[in-house]
Symmetry: C2
Subunit: 174 residues, 2 copies
DNA sequence: TGCGTTAGTTTCGAATAGGAACGTAGTATC
DNA sequence: GATACTACGTTCCTATTCGAAACTAACGCA
């Protein structure tokens, strides 16, 4: 397939997709979140081939999402734990879960729900602004060139979009 | 490659990944969010081959994420717009963007930031509980069997995880 | 009449992904 | 002490998928 590399694109989403945007990788992460941390458990639960599972686990360890930790001395047995970087994927997971449950489940409802321990309620992930706390939606957010960005890149996007103004000039608010 | 199908798994994340968990598909969605809606624009910006772009666009239209809309009569020209289902992916996009910017960008900082129009600040997506408004993290949320779920499935997960209790019994709060 | 634009379709060789089968290291059972 | 079992990988082969490039089509323009 020649997995195209997005990591060099100056965009956080592209870089993220390079790691997470792979069918199996994210499903593995999901299962580790649910407590399935061992090779055989993952294999059984996902129905993935050993080869692919090995590859994906190695990749996720190399990228710093998972950590391979010995849990048994003799014979040496390992399990895979989320690193802080991996744990930080939880918002993505729960946002995706909410979308899937909303749009892709049958009439019976969500197969798996999440209970917020603090309030005890079944929770739906809500994405809000960290400054003012109000909802973030496609229509009340605009992209702008950040410190690590290149002007050429946002210009290329504007051009590809037919020259429509999409990006804010840094410092300006529309 | 034989893209494995997850859609039949009783899990919203699996179903979502079946659509979104493909390298190009999500990048296309991202670009449509940024206003790049036309075939040639997407092709140039993503560096994707025409063949794959056609396939992915058709797939996304068939799945109800994108809508093919004529914007020019003669010759007929089409552009791709997000459906409500597609627009609802924004929380996932911005959560992923935040993760990518946090963990995968170099020292210079995020290449692209998002400005919340309401408050005018550069915003970081925060995922909170829709009931109590507090942060949702991996450690303050527990999965439970939902209305559309099957007990056998969550039992399979517990078993694969070494029998650890992961799921709440419905109605109980740990 | 010929070139440019947009949006595809078709064909083809090469790279890759995936499953099935095999390997291995140690423990438990008979 | 032979066999089975568990956990975790490796190796090999084939079907799929990819990108590149050529081709189609429908029109504007000069």
């Amino acid at each position: 397939m020649k997995r195209t590399q997005f990591a060099d694109q100056p965009c956080g989403v592209a870089k993220a997709m390079d790691i997470v945007g792979e069918l199996w990788s994210f499903m593995i992460i999901r299962n580790v979140f649910l407590g399935v941390r061992r090779f055989e458990g993952l294999r059984e639960n996902l129905g993935i081939s050993r080869k692919v599972l090995t590859e994906r686990l190695d990749l996720l360890v190399a990228r710093g999402i998972l950590e391979r930790r010995q849990y048994h001395e003799r014979p040496p047995r390992y399990e895979y734990r989320l690193t802080p970087m991996g744990v930080d994927l939880f918002p993505v997971l729960i946002a995706l879960s909410r979308w899937g449950n909303r749009w892709l489940t049958d009439a019976r409802g969500a197969p798996i729900e999440f209970v917020h321990r603090k309030c005890g309620e079944v929770t739906q992930a809500r994405v809000v602004c960290n400054t003012c706390g109000e909802d973030l939606g496609a229509h009340n957010v605009r992209p702008q060139l950040g410190a690590g960005g290149e002007l050429a890149y946002v210009e290329a996007i504007e051009q590809a979009g037919g020259g429509r103004p999409v990006f804010l000039k840094p410092g300006r608010v529309a």
